[in-house]
Amino acid sequence: MRKEIEQLNKIFDSRIRIGIMSALMVNESMNFNELKALVDATDGNLATHLKTLEDNTFIKVEKGFIGRKTNTTYAITKAGEKAFRSHLDALEKIIKNLG
């Protein structure tokens, strides 16, 4: 059991980061407001978590424009997908040990 808990990725400790990763796993890309509505976080809070994930190269950020308004979109990277999948596997193992 110890071993499995160690396999859990510390970066995915936060509910909001897990939310961001889940959404980006199944969507090609999402913008800030869409993510905000989905994970239910404040602007500052969400921005901090996005920055952490970006620094770990789990997500990539693309700054674009819609007309004159900036539109920043986020997408998952290969590394991010791999890390999140192994995190899910570890979660699954822990829960299996329950029964």
Binding site: R15, S22, A23, N97
Partner: protein, 215 residues
């Protein structure tokens, strides 16, 4: 033990977000009931107009081009009006449900749903327009049912799964109707009127009743 409970919660969160971000789950049952009622009303008006046309035809005993064109145009405008009223009402009922859930009507999930609905539906609209343009009217009703059914089936992947059954029923009705084009109006009224109402009531009962009180 407590930690394992947390992991279970985390998995639930993940599942929930994946589902919510790809499927548009806020379609209201009332949308279906409204669309069905409007379609039935439209069918009744069309039925009366057709009845009057044939009565006059029998009294005169010969074909009158003006009368025919008149009838055709009336039915065409009626169809478009019914479509707009049904769509607008369905949209408003769904918007109301979204507002109640504090969700948003325009997100990646609803865009995906609408794209997958619009492409087969748009193809059907072009086909029906061509029928009207070429004055070849007998397959309009079955074509409406077939393309609408295919659109629902396709878009069902991105919303409540139940809508796919409605899609299949519309396709079956359309397919049968192809062989009995003279009964087009009855099939049309069944598919767009009756089936929408049945579907709306089932959806309302299944999803709306518990969560949003009286609506």
């Amino acid at each position: 033990m407590k930690e394992q409970y947390q992991e279970l919660e985390a998995l639930k969160d993940i599942r929930n977000i994946m589902e919510r971000s790809t499927r548009f789950l806020s379609l209201s049952g009332w949308s279906g009931i409204w669309a069905g009622a409007v379609a039935l009303g439209g069918s009744a008006i069309a039925w009366l107009q057709l009845g009057r046309y044939y009565r006059q035809y029998n009294e005169r005993g010969n074909f009158d081009t003006d009368q025919y064109i008149n009838l055709r145009n009336n039915l065409f405008y009626l169809g478009i009006t019914v479509f707009i009223i049904a769509l607008a009402g369905a949209f408003l009922f769904t918007l109301r449900k979204v507002r109640k859930q504090n969700g948003s009507i325009w997100n990646s999930a609803s865009r995906r749903f609408l794209n997958n609905l619009a492409i087969p539906l748009g193809t059907g609209a072009i086909m029906v327009s061509a029928f009207v343009y070429n004055n070849d009217l007998q397959y309009i009703a079955p074509a409406c049912l077939l393309f609408y059914g295919l659109s629902l089936y396709n878009a069902g992947k991105f919303t409540l799964n139940d809508i796919r059954y409605l899609g299949i029923i519309e396709v079956i009705l359309g397919a049968i109707c192809l062989f009995f084009p003279a009964l087009g109006l009855y099939f049309w009224a069944t598919g767009f009127g009756l089936m929408h109402i049945v579907y709306g009531v089932i959806m309302w009962n299944k999803y709306d009743r518990g969560t949003t009180g009286t609506t």
